[in-house]
């Protein structure tokens, strides 16, 4: 930060552009030259366009898959539907089991070796097994996604529930709070930020899980599209699909950030102010102050 401020002070005045504008220009310049270099390398024959598609070709493919063929819409819809279903199911299972195990020291002790084993297993590896057991189609895909994204919410809920501040625990004991009250008023709210962090990881894992399931089943969804385009050496369209996933991933990331900020409101400045104002208004309406 300090470096940026010094740069601001010593910047030659009167160039007519703010620091922000100049940085944006530099970003754009770097991006355009990279793309230009890529395009040129391909046109000059340094990169085989069959395997390494030109940026211009990818742009054309975007138009093809979004407008002319329009096949990306349906496939994206299918994939995202699976992601949502698997993620919700995996989250419910993960948070529920995590809380159950967290509150029960005996279960925790006996479950620990299995958790270590589960943690070390590349969980996506069960994909072929689940497909063999449940057959092709949506159920096996959802089961795969569920299994892949179950772990992060589970382990985060568990650690959130277990790592309760001893000072606060003592306070609740001195107030003679019941187990249920400790859980509802202390442990669960305290674990919310950690659980949310687990949910973010789970959503990312869910998208990856969906793609692997589609790579194996090759029927529909954006994963199948990527696979089939690549098989047909239509690399430009495959890349257009991948950049679509970049946008999807970015939107998911931002969406989760937004939800996180609202749910764990006490972890950010804006949330504190918003909730504080709302509670003051409510108390005023009740006439407490």
């Amino acid at each position: 930060m300090a470096v940026q401020e010094i740069a601001g002070v010593t910047a030659p005045p009167g160039r007519g552009l703010s620091i922000g504008q100049r940085r944006a220009l530099t970003h754009a310049a770097i991006f355009i030259s990279l793309i230009g270099l890529w395009e040129a390398a391909s046109r000059l024959g340094w990169l085989d366009p069959l395997f390494y598609p030109r940026p211009s070709d990818i742009l054309v493919s975007f138009w093809l898959i979004y407008v002319q063929n329009g096949n990306v819409g349906w496939n994206l819809y299918v994939t995202l539907g699976l992601v949502l279903a698997g993620w919700v199911a995996g989250s419910v299972l993960g948070v529920g089991l995590g809380a159950l195990v967290g509150f029960n020291p005996l279960v925790r002790r006996f479950l620990k070796p299995y958790v270590i084993v589960l943690e070390a297993t590349p969980r996506i590896a069960v994909a072929p097994l689940l497909i063999a057991a449940l057959g092709f189609g949506a159920p096996s895909k959802i089961a795969i996604i569920m299994l892949v994204c179950f772990f992060a919410p589970f382990i985060n809920t568990l650690s959130g529930v277990v790592n309760v501040d001893p000072g606060r625990m003592e306070l609740f004991r001195s107030l003679r709070a019941s187990k249920l009250q400790v859980m509802r008023k202390l442990v669960l709210p305290d674990a919310v930020p950690v659980i949310m962090a687990g949910e973010r990881l789970a959503l990312t894992a869910a998208l990856s899980g969906a793609l692997v399931a589609e790579f194996i089943q090759r029927d529909q969804g954006i994963g199948s599209m990527i696979l089939i385009y690549t098989r047909n050496l239509n690399m430009a369209s495959a890349f257009a699909c991948i950049f679509t996933l970049t946008i999807v991933g970015f939107l998911m990331f931002k969406g989760m950030e937004l939800v996180d900020q609202r749910v764990a409101y006490w972890k950010n400045e804006a949330g504190l102010k918003r909730v504080s104002d709302r509670r003051r208004a409510r108390a005023q309406a009740e006439g407490v102050i």
Partner: protein
Amino acid sequence: MATQTALHSPSTDTGGRSVVIRGQDVGKTFGGGAVVALEGASFEIPKGAFVSLVGPSGCGKSTLLRLISGLIDRTSGELTVHGKPVSGPHTDVGMMFQRATLLDWRTSLENVLLPSEITRTPTRADKDRAAELLRLVGLKDFLFAFPSQLSGGMQQRVALARLLQTGADILLLDEPFGALDEFTRERLNIELMRIVAEVGATTLFVTHNIAEAIFLADQVFVMTPRPGRIVEIVDVPFERPRPLSIQTSPEFNALVARVRDLFGGVH
């Protein structure tokens, strides 16, 4: 026979006030007797008294506080609060710790309301009282602030209001302002004296600062470590309210010197 006498024994007359906490040879060991945290503590605390517990780390002052609160069980001796033997946490006492232990997701007002929520659904009267207590501790403009928006001193003020909200008439304070800077601590000490006098509570205050212990208290329990024990109970004669300036008086300094000698004697 023994229990009968204990039940019917008249409260020892301490300046015309009844005894609320009585300890007879109270002891606490940890690890099956391996560590003696407290040994042979005998004392009587009259209603409305302000008692300081002073001594170095490991002298058992926090242990004694937790025994009285019922958070831990004694291993020997008799300990009664309001004439009843202590077993498990009870509502006659309220505790406050060095860390404010506020809940980050609750406003000051909601944090103060917590003790009421634990016992029942908070009524309008509870809410009014919580707001009133926050005014009493000087936070009337911060009813809807969250802990992370408050300074360390303000957080302890909220914790004090929460303690008072319990309605307990015995306040157990374990180095409540120990993590704060000297200026803040001094100001809060004076306010604490004013507030406990106002609500008429019996107060036990743990500290390792001799001058602070004397300045606040009617009685100072001087405690030494290995094993933790009360070596002497010193009466503090100064009138209330006490101005800060008494700390420079010769009588005050003589008392400080006397307590310090008690520690020097055992080292």
